[in-house]
Symmetry: C2
């Protein structure tokens, strides 16, 4: 069943009656992804009732896991502790750890204490891994067999394994739960019944550590076209697997982070973030920009005398800074994206820098000539036209050079090229643009003896 | 074996001797991804020799497929037609179609004609699908069985299937090659030998059409956490499958497209694009920006009289436009990313617009007060300080409103919000910023009777 405005309003009406049969029957037919978006349409009381109803269907955790983090944080904060406890009990360890990580410290400890020993310890293990690590995204429900089994025994084990698990690789572990090999399900299924698993498995298994950053894991999975990668500790004990669907989410998150970094945004500043935290997050960036704009203004103010002699300069100086800024941002984007996607494996840094400078020079020349003619037609001043051509040419060259060099340099120094580059190159092109334009004009005015 | 500068130089030396045994032995031990990056280090003659050597190892197409498109285009253009022909013969139909699509029209037809009938027809079929469609990315090597088989017969079929194929879902087709169901490899492996496949398979199969856009396919695969999705025509004939590793590539491409759109860049403008085509691609954007900058300048020039009365205004006006531009870009980024990732399923448009305006107003007030104090300390003019506070407040509010409204409106009209929004909001905040700052100053100067 698909979610639409009709059944949303039916569900809202039914929610008032709590866990009625018609409500449970509708909810039972919805996909988890649709149940998750349903939460976005409900007020806080309705959301509580919905969690309660989903608990009796055992669908709560699948649905909640798909609710965006900040929405979920708010929702969980509104639930009674006994509902929260049922949620944790019915969730897998990794989901329970994720839900707990979104609660306030106090509530988290209290709830964790209320759980029975082994589950509590397993959840605590997850919470101990750093955020954004393989340990936090891995799934611990892994189907394993031992290398001493036969293929037929392996198939028998598989028959008895939980049905909801998706199984693509068969991990082989020894008595100490150390990962010793991996076999494809296909090899297992097609082997003669008495073949030893040992003969079927591949012994060199590419694996990651629970502390490996998630983006590194996603690179490994996509490089080797894996469906899953095992997570092992220092002594090769198998702890979990990270599957390709987790990797898809990680790549989406990375793209957001990359786009956000360009605008000086924090990753958790989303459309549903409360205004107060958005203001708090964006303020430092604004102050930095204010400071840089003031710096540019102080450069401009050096030329107040020149501008008061030829006031048209005050109107035109933005053209040079603006075109330079655009050239810089384009170069920067091409180069940082090239760094992010590994395209630099196919070309040298020097070639890219020379090429971008050539492009910058050509664009500066062409826009300069256009702007020069335009200005001459508009204001009839040959001096101003020449000034605009020269300064556009110089500033575009500098813009291209800094747009190419700065991200490459930041990457060399192990800094994220997406984060700082934008501000740096915009500042350089603004200040140099103004300086160049007003400076050339000052020299020009001096030469013609004005 | 890993690729490093030592073995690259060994390979380069060995390449001169063409297909020698030591060369083939080194190349045979390299991963396809590493062979692809090797092409980035070689000149055109060496690349030709490398293709030749890889052909005798039957590794050419796996390696070439991983070379970035534009690099590959250049490389293929340098190969002799008999080498190109061997490449096509030894490649899968979809890879051959991809290689052909990168050749010049004339060469493409000539080569296609030189292939034998059935292969030529199959390749032509691929070339008929539009670029960026499921038909172009799908793989046609699919393992299929029929519903009338028993599980044991299915396993027997699997045993005889080509070893290099990765098989995760078992597609069931009838005598007309129509897709009638799908079974998991696990169900097949664990079922009693005599079970009919009909009993094991799921009959409702989510599928896509060869003309379905690739980004739509990637959303379906990631929404349902699939490993692959089948491609069928109108009459449900099974044509191919799109696998999750293709989807990972599509998502990366999409992220690049999104980031590029913000800077007014064309998708095929990469670090290794020749300078001439980069210039051609970027020129229209520069001309558009030049036009917009000229528009802003003409607004400023309306206030030349005001600026000549109080020349400090000419130095300070960039602060208002700059801060407004940053507020607009931040709002825009948060809103367009929310639209792209489906976050608007969880919150209404109205709430987001109100929130962003609140944030804009607050940031405008705070930066305004800072800038006002800074200006007063620097220049000691109360008038200029008041003007800067008022105009920063108004411009930040407008910046936030347009940054939120424009992408939402573009999306409503089915336009890509990432493409046009940036230019529009920057133009609005620039022009309004200058107008607001210089207008308030003009009124102020009039009021104090200057």
């Amino acid at each position: 069943m698909k979610l639409n405005s009709t059944n949303i309003s039916i569900i809202r009406r039914l929610l008032v009656g709590r866990k009625s049969r018609p409500l449970l029957s509708i909810l039972g037919r919805l996909e988890p992804a649709d149940l998750a978006s349903l939460f976005g349409q409900l007020d806080s009381r309705e959301s509580r009732y919905l969690v309660d109803a989903l608990l009796s269907l055992d669908k709560t955790s699948e649905a909640l896991i798909l609710v965006p983090e900040q929405k979920l944080e708010k929702l969980l904060g509104q639930l009674d502790s006994n509902i929260l406890k049922s949620l944790l009990v019915y969730s897998s360890d990794e989901d329970a750890a994720y839900f707990l990580s979104l609660l306030e410290i106090g509530d988290r400890h209290q709830l964790l204490e209320s759980l029975e020993g082994p589950k509590r310890q397993r959840i605590q293990l997850f919470l101990d891994y750093p955020e954004g690590s393989a340990g936090r995204v891995m799934s611990t429900k892994i189907f394993t067999i031992t290398p001493t089994m036969t293929a037929a025994q392996g198939i028998e084990e598989l028959r008895n394994a939980a049905q909801e698990q998706s199984i693509y690789y068969i991990y082989c572990i020894n008595d100490e739960r150390q990962l010793v090999g991996v076999a494809s399900l296909r090899a297992l299924a097609t082997a003669p019944a008495q073949t030893a698993i040992e003969k079927l498995m591949k012994r060199e298994v590419i694996s990651v550590h629970p502390f490996t950053p998630a983006d590194e894991v996603s690179r490994i999975v996509s490089h080797y076209d894996f469906i899953a990668v095992p997570v092992v500790d220092e002594t090769r004990h198998l702890l979990g697997i990270v599957t390709v669907d987790d990797v898809l989410d990680i790549i989406q998150e990375e793209a957001t982070a990359d786009i956000y970094a360009r605008a000086g945004l924090q990753e958790d500043d989303r459309i549903y973030t409360p205004a107060t935290s958005s203001i708090k997050h964006r303020m430092p960036w604004m102050i930095l920009n204010l400071f840089l704009a003031a710096l540019a203004s102080s450069v401009i103010s050096l030329f107040e005398h020149t501008m008061s002699q030829l006031i048209i300069l005050a109107s035109l100086k933005n053209i040079v800074a603006g075109i330079g800024g655009n050239t810089a941002i384009q170069t920067l984007t091409v180069v940082t994206r090239g760094l992010a996607t590994g395209d630099f494996n196919f070309i040298s840094h020097a070639k890219v820098i020379i090429k971008e400078c050539t492009v910058g020079l050509a664009l500066g020349l062409m826009t300069g000539v256009c702007a020069g003619i335009m200005t001459y037609v508009w204001k009839g001043s040959a001096l101003v036209s020449i000034v605009i051509v020269i300064s556009l040419l110089l500033n575009s060259l500098l813009a291209a050079a800094s747009g190419a060099l700065i991200p490459i340099a930041l990457k060399k120094w192990n800094l994220d090229p997406a984060v700082g580059s934008g501000v740096l190159v915009t500042m350089i092109t603004d200040i140099f643009g103004f300086f160049c334009f007003l400076g050339t004009a000052t020299i020009g005015l001096y030469l013609i003896g004005a």
